[in-house]
Each structure stands twice: as C-alpha cells, then as structure tokens.
C-alpha cells in the first residue's frame, strides 16, 4: 500500500475479525463493508471468515466489474422465453444475493451509474426492474462487500460508501480467535433486542457531529452496528461499550474533522484491542463519565493517524510519481464501450452487440406468416430481423487546467483559470464534461480540484487558491500525466490546458536547479506525456506578456498548439478550451 492511506482505517487484526462477525449478524441492516487493500491472503482469509460466519444457506455472489444492467438487475431470460413461447424473467445478481452477501470486485472503478443501482437496492431492500418489457420487483436484502483495490486517490463512489457501515483497511490477516464459531445464538438475540435507550442514540449522534460527519445514514448505521455488537456480546440491550465499539468501527473512519479537544484524554478510551467479550462490562462502567464523552473518546482513539495530515493538506496531492505503470495500460475499448442509445437493423457478426429483445420483437409479427408453410413451432428469426445495439460512447472529456501559480502574476492567472473552469462547467454540463485543476508553485504540483462536473463542488474547492513561489513545470507535467492516465482508464478523454509563462526554474525533483536543468526536465516530461498518447489533447496557453521561445519549444515537445494569450479573460479561455474539446470529440465519436 502507498503511504497516502485513504479515509477508512480500522486497522487492528482483531477488529477486522469483529467487523466480519458484526456484518455476518446483520448484512442487510449494516449495508456492508468497504474493504480496502490489495488482493492477497489477508483479504482471502477475511472473506473466508465472513463466509463461515454467515448462515449456511446465505447466498454468496460475486459481481464482476463492468457487469451489464441485464445481469445486475435482471431481465428477460431469452432461452426460457423462446422455449416457453412467453416471457420468462431471469433474476439478476442483486435478487440472487437476497439474504446474503454480494462481493464487488474493483469497487474503486465502479461507475457512478452502477453505484446508484446498488445504492437503490441497499436503500429499499428490493430491486425494481423495468426492462425488456418486464416490470418486476424482487427482494434484495443484502450486504455488500466492496473490494477496494484503489491506489492513492481512487476510491469507490461516495454514494456507495455512505451506505456501507464499515470502512475497513485490511493490511493483516484477521485474528479470529475472539469470534465465536457460530453466530446462531447471537442472531436470535439480535432479533429480540430491546429498543436502544435515548442516551445511546444521543451519544452516537453527538459523536458523529463532533467528527464532522454530515450524513444521517452514518449514525443510523452506527446504531445498527452497536445493536449487532450487543447481540454478539450476549446482551439484551445496547450498552455503552457497544456504542463505543460502533463509534470506533463506523464513525471514526469517516471523520472529516478532529473533535474539539476539551478535556481530551485518549487514555479514557477502551483499549483498542477490546474484543466483544472483553468489552462486555456492565453499563455501570459509564458512571464516571457521561456516555457521549466515552463514545467520542473511543472514536477519537480510533481516528486514522494520517487524518490530521490529510485535513491539513485539505486537498489531496496528485501523485507526482509516474502514474503510468498501472495494472492496465490506457486501454481504450472503442466500439464496445458506451451506452445503448437504440437499435438498428444490422449484422451482429461485425463485432456489434445483438439486441435480442429487439430482434425478437422485429421477428414477432411475422411468425404466423413464416409458419404458414407448417414449419414447426419454433420461432423463425431471419436475418432481416437482426437488430444491433447502437452504442454511443459518451464523448466525455475532462478538461484539466494545469495552472502556473508561481510568482507575482499567480493570483491573476488563478482567478482566470477558476473563472474559465466555472464557465466551462456552466456551459457544458449538458455534455457531461468534467473539469479538474492542478496548480503548481513552489516545489511541486497539487491537485486542487479533482475531476468533477459539479459546479457546487468546484466552487467549494476553488474558494481559496494560494499563489507565489518557483515554477516547477516538470512536476506539473508529471502530475498532469498521472491524472490524464487515470481519466483515460475510466474511459474519459483528458484535455490538458497548460497555463504558464514558461519560466521554469525548479527541477523535477523539486530543487531550485537553475533554468537550464528545469527546462530540460520540463521538455522530457512533455515528451513523455506526448508518448502516452496525449498529443492533440494538450493546449499550451502562454500567459507571459512577452512570450519566450521556450514556451513554444515546450508546446512542440507536447505536440500541442501554442496559444499566446497574455490577457486571456475567463471567457476567451473557456472558448478556446471548448474549441479544442470539439476537435477532440471529432476524433472520438464511434458508431
């Protein structure tokens, strides 16, 4: 794992086992777990533990990345339909996993659309299908295990994380000694648990608020975790220790701010190793301190250690290391990507996807006629009935502004870039474009605005932009390259807009190394960027009052047009970017 540990860290091996036990007690109520860590023995052992703890007949399904709606939600069972001569439905993965667990591989790359389908199922405990001429509703009360193998900034979609009780960072093989072999008794106890006392609910809500957790789903999930913990510990009602455990496991990994220190004394917290049995102390232990304090102290003790650093940085720093060595090259699956926008008659053999339902529909009216010759009872589908899916690749682009924030002109340039970013978002959100902003100054580059199409978010991120310092052009290009690679992996076309005056003076390593070295580094980074296939997708906006030849040289190295715009206002800038985007889209559209 990289050092840039993400939010989500309940680390200790005993806790990992505890999470598995709680989740196995009430998968649907808790929503599930985001399990962050590389594939390996630790993860396999954890999954095996969870599976062992679930009831024997609970379904265990795996959802592959890129699964289609038909398989996920359910749809028409074609062989069955053809055999029976009437519509036969097929359940999807969500309905199949009802009462059990759905495993989600590579959750960090889950598209937003799929995440929302999962979220809808988690919210309603059912999956509604309105597809292929079918209207169905199946129960889908399931727990989700989102396997998150993301590096650095890659995270599963927020809409999904919000609904999963546990965010677990798995870096060690779980210790399952503390977990009972069978949860049957605990499961029965959970069903008969007494209602929680108001003090418990208040403690969880107050702790969530103190940690800056806005969503109301979180305290609710924490309450369910506390209930499961009480059942696991053999109690008839939720006790303070259960709430403290829930705060550690559910609330702490989501903290967005540090609780006000007050009489902060981390020693008050229950020892982090406290298993359910150890923590089984009577509610009497809470007498010395009011419950909210105890719960908050528990959460505070479990705060991920790097939280402070992360909060101080406010915005994640783009990995300035070469980002190109990913598991998968910048593979671009042209014709197979995209969303269906309809069908047309055609031959499916040319690599197009056959739309079976539409094909059947086209064939249906002719069946009488075709059977007139008395040719059996089977459905006669002829070549002219074939309907193929028309896919439109979402011509999504991500405009990445790489803005020189060095020196005296910084504030001005940043304001222009910010204005242009907002104008772009306002103008092209119909086209579903995204905007990102990297600023570079001093000794390195920083991702100020991760790719977004939300004006709200953009405004929030761009509110305060620091400026001044050296010009680390090479580092900026490396950061841009890393971001471009991520974007391309997710099927979007990055468009880099480099706004600089070209006065590079910081080397790639971030040292003030003299102009010649800095320029050589920048050119090398530029050429690397070009080799990665970004040619034609870069725009160099020269903002110097008197353009230097180096900027032009850099543009050539990048294979990019050089646009001297010493006083480009936001409007002119966004117009130039839109032109470039249109050119890109011209290359990108497919059948």
């Amino acid at each position: 794992m990289t050092a840039a540990a993400p939010p989500g860290a309940a680390g200790a091996p005993a806790e990992a086992a505890l999470v598995a036990a709680l989740l196995a007690l009430d998968p649907a109520g808790l929503g599930g777990v985001a399990l962050r860590g590389p594939p390996g023995p630790a993860r396999d052992r954890w999954l095996a533990l969870l599976r062992r703890l679930l009831p024997g007949d609970a379904p265990w399904r795996r959802m592959p990345p890129g699964v289609g709606d038909g398989r996920l939600l359910g749809g028409l069972d074609l062989p069955g339909t053809l055999r029976a001569g009437r519509k036969v439905a097929e359940r999807g993965l969500l309905a199949e996993a009802d009462g059990g667990v759905l495993l989600l591989s590579m959750a960090e790359r889950l598209p937003a659309a799929a995440a929302l389908r999962l979220a809808a199922a988690l919210d309603t405990g059912a999956v509604r299908v309105e597809r292929d001429g079918l209207a169905l509703c199946h129960p889908a009360r399931l727990g989700l295990v989102a396997l998150d193998e993301g590096l650095e900034e890659e995270r599963p979609p927020a809409a999904l994380l919000d609904r999963l009780a546990f965010h677990l960072l798995l870096d060690d093989v779980p210790h399952d000694e503390a977990v009972p072999a069978s949860l049957r008794a605990a499961r029965a106890r959970l069903r008969r648990l007494l209602p929680p006392s108001p003090a418990i609910i208040e403690a969880l809500c107050a702790t969530a608020a103190a940690l800056g957790i806005a969503s109301l789903r979180t305290p609710l999930l924490a309450l369910r975790a506390a209930q499961a913990a009480a059942a696991l510990a053999g109690r008839r009602a939720v006790a303070g220790a259960d709430a403290a455990l829930a705060a550690r496991l559910v609330l702490a990994p989501r903290a967005t701010r540090l609780p006000a220190p007050e009489e902060a004394d981390a020693a008050e917290a229950p020892p982090p190793e406290a298993g359910p049995e150890a923590a089984a102390g009577a509610p009497g232990e809470a007498e010395a301190h009011p419950l909210p304090d105890i719960v908050l102290a528990a959460a505070r003790a479990a705060l991920p250690p790097e939280l402070l650093a992360r909060l101080a940085a406010a915005a994640p720093v783009a990995g300035a290391t070469a980002g190109g060595e990913g598991r998968k090259g910048p593979a671009r699956q042209a014709a197979r990507r995209g969303r269906p926008v309809g069908t047309r008659a055609g031959d499916p053999r040319a690599g197009f996807r056959l739309s079976l339902v539409e094909t059947l529909r086209a064939a249906a009216p002719w069946q009488r006629l075709r059977h007139a010759g008395g040719a059996g009872q089977r459905i006669a589908v002829r070549r002219e009935d074939f309907r193929i899916l028309r896919l439109r690749r979402p011509a999504e682009t991500t405009a990445v502004f790489v803005v020189d924030a060095s020196g005296s002109a910084a504030l001005h340039r940043l304001a222009e870039a910010k204005g242009a970013a907002e104008l772009l978002l306002a103008a092209c959100y119909a086209r579903r474009d995204r905007v990102a902003l990297i600023s570079f100054r001093g000794t390195g580059a920083e991702l100020l605005l991760p790719p977004t199409r939300s004006l709200v978010r953009a405004r929030r991120c761009l509110a305060a932009l620091p400026g001044g310092g050296g010009t680390p052009l090479a580092a900026a290009l490396e950061a841009a390259r890393a971001l471009a690679t991520t974007e391309r992996r997710q099927g979007r076309t990055p468009l880099l807009v480099l706004m600089t005056d070209g006065r590079a003076n910081i080397s790639r390593e971030g040292r003030a190394a003299g102009r010649a070295q800095a320029e050589a580094d920048a050119l090398a980074s530029g050429r690397a960027l070009r080799r990665e296939g970004c040619a034609g997708a870069v725009l160099v906006v020269d903002m110097a009052p008197r353009p230097l030849p180096f900027a032009r040289e850099l543009a050539e190295a990048l294979g990019a047009p050089h646009l001297p715009l010493p006083a480009a206002g936001p409007a002119a800038l966004s117009a130039a970017v839109q032109q470039a985007a249109a050119r890109l889209a011209g290359h990108g559209a497919t059948a």
């Binding site: 029976a84 929302l116 292929d132 001429g133 079918l134 108001p198």
Partner: protein, 381 residues
C-alpha cells in the same frame, strides 16, 4: 404496483400459469419467475408526518399534491437526508381518484381528454367509474426506454401474432406522480423523452410497428445530490418548485431522526399506527385544500407583488410568476386562509424561483440568498 391492470402475483411463490407448456424441471420453474407485477416492497412506508424538520420540502410536496398544475418538485440536497423517504411517503396521503373502470390508463370519467378506448366507449354511453389510489410511480435506475414509453407486447406477439401495445411507466403515472431518484444522473435520451411527454401531456409511441397515443399527465418529482452532477437546464426549468435540503444541524433533531427511524425499522406497522392519526389529518387537509383551490381568491395586489419580485430577479419567462402564485394559492388552501396573501408568497418564493435565476458563474451568492435579498428589497423586510 397499485395501478397495474394485471393481477399481482408474487413471482417466487406462485407457480407459473400454463405449466403444461413448460416441460419438467422444478428448479427451472423456480427460476422462471412469473412476469406479473410483484408488489414492490409491500412494506409499510415511513409515515410522512414522522419526518423530522425539512419544512420546505414537506410544504412543496403538499402543495404539489393540492395543485398538480404547479408542475412538479425537485428535491436537491445532501446524502442521507431522507429525500426518497419523503416522496415515497407522500403516496399514502393522496386522496383516491375516480377512474374509468377497465381503462388501462385510468382516465378520468369527468375529463374530456380521454384515451382512444374511452372515447369510443363514451360515444356508446356513460363511462363506469371506480375509485383508485393515485399512482406514485418510481422510475428505477436502469429502466429501459421500452418500459418507460411502452411498446409492443412481446408475449402476445409471439403467441398470438397480435400487435398489441403494452403500456409503460408513463401510462401508469398518468394522473399521478412520477418519481425519479438521482434525476441528475438519468440517461440523456430518457430525459429528452420525459421532457417531451411532460410538456405535451401526451405520450406518442411510434416504435416496433406500433403507433399509438395516450394521455400522460403527471407530476414530475425528482431528487438528487448536486455533488454527483448538475441537472440539465432544460430539465431544471421543468420543475415547478425546487427545494434545497440539508442535514439537520441541531443535535436534538438528529437524535430524533435516528430514534424514529430505528423505531420504524424495528416495527413498521406499530410505528405507522402511532402516526396514523396525524396522517389522516394531513390527508384530510389535502382533500379539503383540493376542493378549495379552484375558488381561492387571489387579490390583484398579490399578483402584482409576485410580478415585482420576478422582475427584480430577472427570471426567464412567465413560468416563475405563474408557479409562484399557484404555489402560494395551494399553501393558502392548505392553511384554510380566506385569500392568498403576501405572507404565502414569501413562504414559497425561494422554492418557486431559485432554479430560474440566470446563472452567473462569477456571482458567489447562492440562489436562495439572491431570492431572499430580492424579497427584502421589493417587499420590504
């Protein structure tokens, strides 16, 4: 769901009909779930009256229930604030409606805009009516276009060789509500389609060799989280009211939300019974307000006040003014006031206007602030 013509049979439990056509294999029979509609979560919905806070959203939904002409509600806000819960809870509050017996579109017997079947039947005599619950139809994510607009009935085409139309969600939502969760992430081609139907009040189907039109007038209710993406401006304008919803700040409110939610999940029926009285009272209020809304007096001074505010804000077109007045009237009816007053306008102005302001990316002020500022300037504090 409620308005479905075909009988509701639970897919898992009921054996397939015409079993003889399917040879053996019980395992397969289990998989071949019958295609009738199963009751989607026939679970007790969370009571509308039990929602904590969120006054603006509740008022907007009630106003839309009183006067469908307001044109729908958009609920935009933070994650986990109970947007969907509120909309789904609304269904239980709507007074039943009269519909033509046997009509697949649930036409109103008293209405002139009927479907073709009903028009033919009326030519032959009076239309028999019966009482139906108002449909609140969910447009689930991943719905395909054929299910939204309706299409060729595949089964009848295959078995009988008949070209028959199978109505879609738009037909089911006729005279009721169409709810789209995560509306900002709806596929573009579905958005275009919805806009077209919402504007014309009629669904025109030209596909699979079918050519049919049927009335489809519904109140569009959308919800979403702005952090996931913006809504297309064309769709934004289509909603009469737009509500911004935030997580409750106060600890007491938050505790109350969790307490009620836990009580509800623990024992849905018991919890609903606790709130039954309040629910009935709200239902009464809606029914009474509906009967009043046609007669509610709207003084010229109020119309002028609305016009002055819209002028000051520079909203596009007249829709803003119309919605503002209609929503204020609905609120006045809900409160059993004698006439619409400026106070009613004040309560609904942010919801009616905040999404109609010209976007100015360089103006930092949130649109709600702009509306409030204008109200203070035009009408005085």
């Amino acid at each position: 769901m409620t308005g479905a013509a075909n009988g509701a049979v639970n897919g898992a439990a009921a054996p397939p009909r015409r079993r003889a056509a399917v040879p053996r294999a019980a395992a397969r029979a289990a998989r071949e779930a019958v295609l009738q509609e199963t009751a989607p979560g026939r679970r007790t919905p969370y009571p509308f009256s039990a929602i904590v806070g969120q006054e603006e959203m509740r008022l907007a939904l009630l106003a839309a229930a009183v006067d469908p002409g307001i044109g729908g509600v958009l609920v935009f806000g933070d994650r986990g604030t109970g947007k969907s819960t509120a909309v789904r809870a609304l269904a239980a509050l709507l007074p039943p409606m009269q519909a033509v017996r046997g009509c697949r579109y649930a036409c109103d017997p008293a209405d002139r805009a009927l479907c073709e079947d009903c028009r033919r039947r009326r030519a032959r005599g009076a239309l028999p009516g019966h009482s139906l619950p108002v449909p609140v139809i969910d447009l689930p994510l991943g719905a395909t276009e054929d299910r939204v607009v309706g299409t060729l009935d595949l089964e009848r085409a295959l078995t009988a060789g008949v070209k028959a139309f199978e109505p879609g969600l738009l037909a089911r939502a006729h005279r009721g509500f169409l709810y789209i969760d995560e509306v900002n992430l709806l596929e573009d081609h579905l958005v275009d389609l919805l806009l077209d139907v919402a504007a014309s009040g009629e669904n025109l189907v030209e596909r699979d060799g079918i050519s049919i039109r049927h009335p489809a007038r519904f109140v569009l209710i959308g919800s979403g989280n702005p952090e996931e993406g913006e809504l297309r401006p064309q769709l934004l304008d289509r909603f009469g009211l737009s509500v911004e919803i935030r997580t409750p700040e106060g600890l007491a409110d938050r505790v109350e939300v969790i307490r009620r939610r836990d009580a509800f999940e623990r024992e849905p029926e018991g919890f609903a019974a606790l709130w039954a009285e309040e629910e009935a009272a709200t239902r009464q209020r809606i029914a009474a307000a509906r009967s009043r809304v046609g007669r509610m007096a709207t003084p010229v001074a109020v119309l002028e006040a609305a016009a002055r505010l819209c002028l000051a804000l520079g909203t596009d077109g007249l829709r803003g003014e119309l919605t503002l007045v209609r929503a204020a009237r609905a609120v006045a009816c809900l409160e059993d006031a004698a006439a619409v007053t400026e106070a009613h306008l004040r309560r609904v102005a942010p919801a009616a206007l905040r999404h109609r302001l010209r976007r100015n990316p360089l103006d930092e002020a949130a649109s709600t602030t702009r509306v409030e500022r204008a109200m203070a300037e035009v009408w005085g504090a």
